[in-house]
């Protein structure tokens, strides 16, 4: 707790809302980091699967649908994989963009809050 001398800046409702918003953004930021990790893994797995497919020369490939591995002709597997890779890559891009936007908003809020409260507030990760 800050040992303030005399009168520190009063906390207005607007300040409180900014602090709340910062907290919410920070939470979402951590969630996003986890989601991005998973999305990156998915992308990698699909890439590996794609490579395996190229190396193998079977005509019928066991492709996972739900909980079972269906015997699917090679061409269909190629198409499905392509589509899945595209979706996964778009998803990852969307998440990265959201992360950038959140970081920017947090930086902006930090400027405002530190500007008013200086040492009385701590917005860093511990």
């Amino acid at each position: 707790m800050q040992k303030g001398e005399g009168s520190e800046a009063q906390v207005t409702w607007e300040d409180q809302q900014n602090i709340n918003k910062f907290g919410r953004l920070n939470n979402r930021f951590h969630e996003l980091e986890d989601e991005i990790k998973v999305a990156k893994e998915t992308n990698e797995n699909l890439e590996d699967a794609s490579n395996e497919l190229i190396l193998s020369d079977e005509d019928i490939v066991r492709f996972q649908i739900g909980e079972v591995f269906a015997h699917v002709p090679r061409e269909e597997v190629e198409n499905r994989l392509e589509k899945m890779k595209e979706d996964a890559s778009k998803e990852l891009e969307k998440l990265e963009e959201e992360k950038e936007s959140i970081l920017a908003q947090m930086a902006e809020l930090k400027k405002i809050l530190y500007g008013k409260f200086k040492d009385s507030i701590n917005l860093e990760e511990d």
Binding site: M1, R62, I65, V68, H71
Partner: protein, 192 residues
């Protein structure tokens, strides 16, 4: 021409008093006024606020658990939809679908799935019902929609809850600082 006194104070935040059972934390405009109005001294007030924070923590745990459940349920439903879609696609062709499925950990067996118009869906509580492909798809899609909607509401609840926690924490800090400030003033006047 008296200035009309407005019923609501101009700076009062439109505080939500509660949301789905979660009590809202009222924002404190001025610490001194707040303490006078509640009739508590700084320590009792801090104790009350800390208790509130504990309550919030409990609710947060519950909501997080619900969120985890829903987040696990959604990919499950999507997988089922995938299978139904595959069966639908195979229907026209007249070929059987050959699939390897897990009998036990690490042990797989092969199944030949003939053209069929119906699937059985596990509804939970040891109940499995047979549906036509279209009905199954409709049911699964509705379940998926409901799950996603519930998740959205849950996320909004969590955001509301975290806001209330933040407001309460800030109030704790302000009451504490005000108290320290008061003691310092008393100390200063004593020493005169």
């Amino acid at each position: 021409m008296a200035a009309a006194a407005s019923a609501s104070s101009p700076t009062s935040p439109a505080a939500v008093t509660e949301r789905r059972g979660i009590p809202g934390a009222s924002f404190v405009e001025d610490v001194e006024t707040y303490l006078k109005q509640s009739g508590l001294d700084a320590n009792s007030s801090l104790a009350f606020l800390q208790e509130r924070l504990q309550q919030y923590k409990i609710v947060e745990m519950k909501l997080l658990a619900q969120q985890r459940d829903l987040q696990a349920k959604i990919p499950d439903i999507e997988k089922c939809l995938d299978v139904v879609a595959t069966l639908e696609a195979k229907k026209g062709t007249g070929e059987a679908l050959i699939a390897d499925f897990e009998v036990s950990e690490g042990i797989y067996s092969q199944a030949k799935i003939e053209d069929s118009d119906s699937v059985c869906l596990w509804l939970g509580a040891n109940v499995m019902l047979e549906y036509s492909l279209e009905e199954a798809k409709a049911l699964l899609e509705k379940n998926l929609e409901n799950a996603k909607a519930s998740l959205e509401v849950l996320v909004a609840d969590l955001q509301f809850l975290r806001d209330q926690v933040t407001i309460t924490q800030v109030t704790v800090a302000r009451v504490y600082n005000w108290d320290v400030h008061q003691r310092r003033i008393k100390q200063a006047t004593k020493e005169e």
